[in-house]
């Protein structure tokens, strides 16, 4: 195209701390960060399994190591992040799962409730195995 050159466009730079400007952005960044703590729990579980496989002495050392205040603090923080992670995706489920039953759409609340129910059942089953088994 001929004629006068186009005036310069202005693109506002994205500030480093853009995610502090809005609650939803902050929750989003925290939830993304939660994946690090999910990974940590996987590592922790693997270490536990490895210690159990190595025998009673190793498992007792693992338990002693886990009793350190900084380990308890880390695992508490990790638990909070994992809960944030879980709640987000459970509450998202009905928007991704559009289920029709006998021609009628299943209510979103039912799908969320089903997720929490399954969570409770699995937790109860795991607790039973650990405490009774």
């Amino acid at each position: 195209m001929s004629g006068t050159p186009r005036p310069a466009l202005y693109r506002k730079p994205v500030p480093t701390f853009w995610w502090l400007g809005r609650r939803a952005y902050l929750v989003f960044v925290l939830r993304e960060l939660s994946s690090v703590f999910v990974a940590w729990f996987v590592v922790f579980l693997l270490l536990m399994v490895g210690a159990i496989a190595d025998g009673k002495g190793a498992y007792e050392r693992f338990q002693d190591w886990s009793d350190n205040w900084w380990m308890i603090l880390l695992n508490t923080i990790a638990l909070l992040f994992v809960l944030l992670h879980t709640l987000t995706w459970f509450n998202l489920a009905p928007r991704a799962l559009v289920v029709r039953l006998r021609g009628r759409r299943v209510r979103p609340r039912s799908i969320v409730a089903l997720h929490y129910l399954l969570w409770a059942l699995l937790t109860a089953a795991t607790a039973w195995l650990i405490l009774e088994g």
Binding site: P7, A8, Y10, R11, G21, A24, Y25, L92, A96
Partner: protein, 247 residues
């Protein structure tokens, strides 16, 4: 209640400045006036050089999207009285390059719209004498929400992923693609798949959810994206297990 209110408007005149500046205008505060009415008053009576887009004034054309007090809004639907006693901060839509004042460059959005082929695609159109394609109310309900999109770009403005990764196809485009994917008259889902299933398609979305919050038409673009993620994952699994199956 005072009968006047101040509009703090972002001005960008590329011939004379490299960054936007603020300019204050005082306009009448009438009960039924929207921000757009305020801007029109400025244009008509105070400063004819102020530039912005608008059209229908009733929330169906999607032209007058701007950032009002930090929130993406249709200015025809944002009442001045809701922001009394002011001032009302009016800026161009975030995440788009600014051409002038409150006018943004929307070419990127237009290109993305075209990429997702938002029209009914059929292998063969049946002859006119066979009449229209029939569709039950339930079939229409499946996609109707996504058909309410007015292409106002508020969802792109609210989306931090689009801000950080302009290549992201974006919420409205995916919602419109879903509008056709879910339409029983359409046979083009496979044609849209490459764009939607790409890294810059639905997988760029990390579910902030602000697109749905910003949407003035209740479209739920975040839901459309999550729903298509499930579709894309399911289809990929099918392709893996039955490679020769119909796409």
């Amino acid at each position: 209640m005072t009968d006047r209110i101040t509009l703090q408007v972002a001005r960008y005149r590329p011939e004379q400045e490299t960054e936007p500046t603020w300019q204050a205008y005082e306009v009448p505060l009438r009960k039924e006036w929207t921000v757009l009415d305020g801007l029109n008053h400025i244009k008509d009576h105070i400063d004819g050089t102020l530039s912005y887009r608008w059209s229908c004034r009733m929330g169906i054309c999607g032209s007058c999207g701007m950032t009002v007090n930090g929130e993406p809004r249709l200015t025809c639907s944002a009442f001045l009285t809701d922001s009394a006693p002011g001032p009302v901060r009016v800026e161009p839509l975030a995440n788009f390059p600014v051409i002038r004042d409150l006018v943004v460059e929307i070419g990127d959005f237009m290109n993305k719209l075209t990429e997702v082929k938002p029209w009914i695609i059929r292998d063969e159109h049946k002859p006119l004498d066979e009449g229209e394609y029939l569709q039950t109310p339930d079939e229409m309900d499946e996609y109707k929400q996504y058909s309410m999109c007015i292409n106002c770009m508020l969802c792109y403005s609210a989306c931090p992923v689009y801000a950080l990764d302009p290549g992201f196809v974006g919420p409205a485009a995916v919602a419109l693609a879903q509008r056709y994917n879910l339409d029983p008259r359409d046979e083009g889902a496979a044609d849209r798949r490459d764009v939607l299933s790409s890294a810059e398609g639905v997988w760029a979305c990390t579910l902030v959810g602000e697109c749905t919050t910003a949407c003035p038409k209740g479209v739920d673009p975040a839901g459309a994206i999550q729903r298509y993620k499930l579709t894309a994952a399911t289809q990929s699994l099918k392709d893996l297990l039955w490679p020769r199956g119909a796409r």
